[in-house]
Symmetry: C2
Subunit: 430 residues, 2 copies
């Protein structure tokens, strides 16, 4: 008698479609296809594109040797602890370092009980959403905003509403109107997701006056604030603006940070700083037994040696030069078709294209010219915003920036030409 | 004018209690306090305890040098990729290796599209729960079962029901009765969480006949099976029993695995093997941008060098000796008070204590004698089962096992004496 195991040998596992359909949660139905890899083209592009897509550090800046040495040191000195469960809240010494650091920046007295370590800031946002959102709760995000956060919010079967930004970031008046409209409808607005420093994608930084106004509105509506500060350390000019967390004394604010932009995205070490009352509940909703203690300990080793404090000014200098190179190239090659504001930090330039440029035509021309960007519609809940384009200057090699923008300029000219009356619908335009 | 930032300097962040109370999700309310650290005593114990608590590998077996070398190699050879986002599904070469490995064991043709890499098997369970559970859905777990999984299930605001096990594991007849009772009530049983190999905590392994019967019942009730195989590789004797995943050809089964028990818990690398139709939805519910590619790549390097295949037989030998040492010591020091079955693999011995032993008296006596175990009630939804005790032989040093069990024997005698009519309620008993 052949066992089922033997009989099944070589069979490809297969899941009855009806069983899958009836088994899925409302949340996975609500969230839609995975963000990762979206927009990848099936056919190889005619020209190898220069990528201005990801909010990812310059690979030349990654401190390989220091990280490798920290990994080695930690394994030699405390290998047993590094290779065992470390608990969901994260490595104590790293939490102490972060409490001290965030506390000094924000003028608050923080301890390790105020910090929880997460799988990047993405893991932090997921943890916050699970702790505070029920199905049907309304969440306000900026329009535009970071798509990964918008997916994590939608995955709670929550209602994602938006408040528009202008060149100076979130508009308090618009936020107030959105909240009042929701309240009139009987909705329960629960949470504001905001990126106040070097906003992704717009690059804007919210003034302290607007922050105070937003905080006042949030208090009136019993709205929690999730303050995503992924890019706050990458500051080129100007004074640091006090965080919502600082301004509120921690009440009702969750301050999310990460080593992804300063150090490396592949470490997957982020954190939430919050009042202990809130932190305790965040930890309750962690079921992953914590991220790798080895990684957390090597990051703690790296930062406590003072290496981060040496590293950040160096990379800030790199990104400042790249921002300036990109802005200069835009002025030279793209000026008639696009408008932008110079960000005072972060990784992105946000372009508003002239209405004469058809987004679909630009997309095609950019593929042919060999330059990749993220189309603005990805940053809007309603997929409006195709008249915008996000360019990341962080990842691209500095010496390739001018060529990338030259290609973008050619693509813009072709897209504009394609939209003129009588122009052919598609096909080579030069 | 002093800024709020300045005025707040030194203040401890504080969250208004009413705001917290009205903001928490139903899920975080449902889940209860964090599992991690539960049972830790505030006062230092009088005797440093020998710990028989955690399901954690023997620290002497951790392959520090090989892992350190793999970490170094990966950083030198592919550091840019190791330190960048790797995507939510996980590193392709590791998924390929796992597909090949699981596929050969299960007699199924798997590819990387059938595997998703998670933050340990704990992260896998959380991911599965989010993908398939809605509030109010009923989930069946074994009674007893792994507490971490039970928390992850309760955190979906799901209804956690149980089916009892006997010495041979889950009883198909009891499972059928539980499901029929739920169906009569109008509940929607969605998922069975089971640990078929070297069960945590009982050590039992489910026979192929029972697996077939369970699968048949699951099919009839449209019940998904989550098969947690954390301990399957730690097999001392007997043939491997075909998995639910193998027996079902993958239909309706999610097979969860981990490197935590074979290699190190601190790596936090686990996986789900499933039909691609299901895997695609698991990936949709990952919002953490994936775990560290550096760790995933160093594990891939380690396994593809053949080091895991050399390591596993060595650690199995270690755990077999420890199991035997613990069983021999139990026979010598504890036999009148406890019964157990010898597990054919895994990390645990599960003791049923004589009714003459009062669990609370044992707890006190064990603290005084200096031996730590996990009380059986932790493994039951209804906290019944205090007449059971889980002993882990995996972590404790081999040469300490006899002393640990000798202490347990003394504690048992004291607890039995304390329960005799006329015995003093507490206080030193010798």
């Amino acid at each position: 008698l052949a066992s089922n195991e033997e009989r099944a040998a070589g069979a490809v596992p297969n899941w009855e479609a009806a069983l899958l359909e009836e088994s899925l949660s409302r949340r996975v139905r609500a969230v839609g296809p995975a963000y990762w890899g979206a927009g990848a083209t099936a056919a190889p592009p005619p020209v190898p594109p220069i990528a201005l897509t990801g909010g990812v550090p310059d690979p030349e800046t990654l401190p390989f040797e220091d990280l490798a040495e920290a990994a080695q040191t930690v394994l030699e000195r405390e290998g047993r602890l590094a290779l065992q469960y470390g608990g969901p809240q994260g490595f104590l010494a790293l939490r102490e370092w972060l409490a001290d650091r965030v506390g000094r920046v924000d003028g608050l007295s923080l301890g390790p009980e105020n910090i929880t370590i997460t799988n990047g800031s993405a893991g932090a946002l997921a943890n916050v959403c699970e702790t505070f959102l029920d199905p049907g709760d309304a969440v306000i995000a900026e329009a535009p905003s970071y798509p990964g956060a918008m997916r994590a919010i939608r995955a709670q079967d929550a209602r994602l509403e938006t408040a528009p930004v202008d060149g100076e970031g979130l508009r308090p008046d618009a936020l107030g109107e959105t909240l009042e409209a929701l309240t009139r409808e009987g909705a329960r607005p629960k949470l504001l997701y905001t990126i106040p420093n070097f906003h992704n994608p717009t690059g804007a930084t919210l003034s302290v006056e607007r922050r105070r106004a937003v905080l006042e509105i949030a208090r009136r509506h019993r709205l929690l604030i999730v303050e995503d500060d992924a890019y706050g350390e990458i500051r080129f000019e100007g004074e640091r603006v006090p965080s919502f967390f600082a301004l509120s004394g921690g009440d009702g604010v969750l301050r999310v940070g990460t080593f992804s932009k300063t150090l490396a995205t592949g470490l997957r070490v982020g954190w939430v700083a919050a009042a202990q009352e809130a932190t305790d509940f965040l930890v309750r909703m962690r079921f992953d037994m914590g991220t790798s203690p080895w990684i957390q300990r090597l990051v703690a080793e790296y930062v406590s040696r003072g290496l981060l404090d040496r590293h950040v000014p160096q990379v800030v200098e790199v990104y400042r030069r790249k921002r300036d190179a990109m802005a200069a190239a835009l002025a030279e090659h793209c000026a008639p078709y696009v408008r932008w504001r110079l960000p005072s930090g972060g990784f992105f330039l946000w372009l508003e294209m002239d209405r004469r440029v058809q987004p679909e035509a630009l997309r095609e021309a950019a593929v042919e010219e060999g330059v990749a960007y993220v189309s603005g519609d990805a940053f809007f809940v309603d997929r409006s915003g195709s008249q915008f384009t996000r360019l990341a200057y962080s990842f691209v090699a500095e010496q390739e920036i001018e060529e990338a923008i030259r290609r973008l300029g050619r693509a813009l000219r072709r897209a504009e030409a394609a939209s003129r009356p009588g122009a052919p619908q598609s096909g080579p335009a030069r």
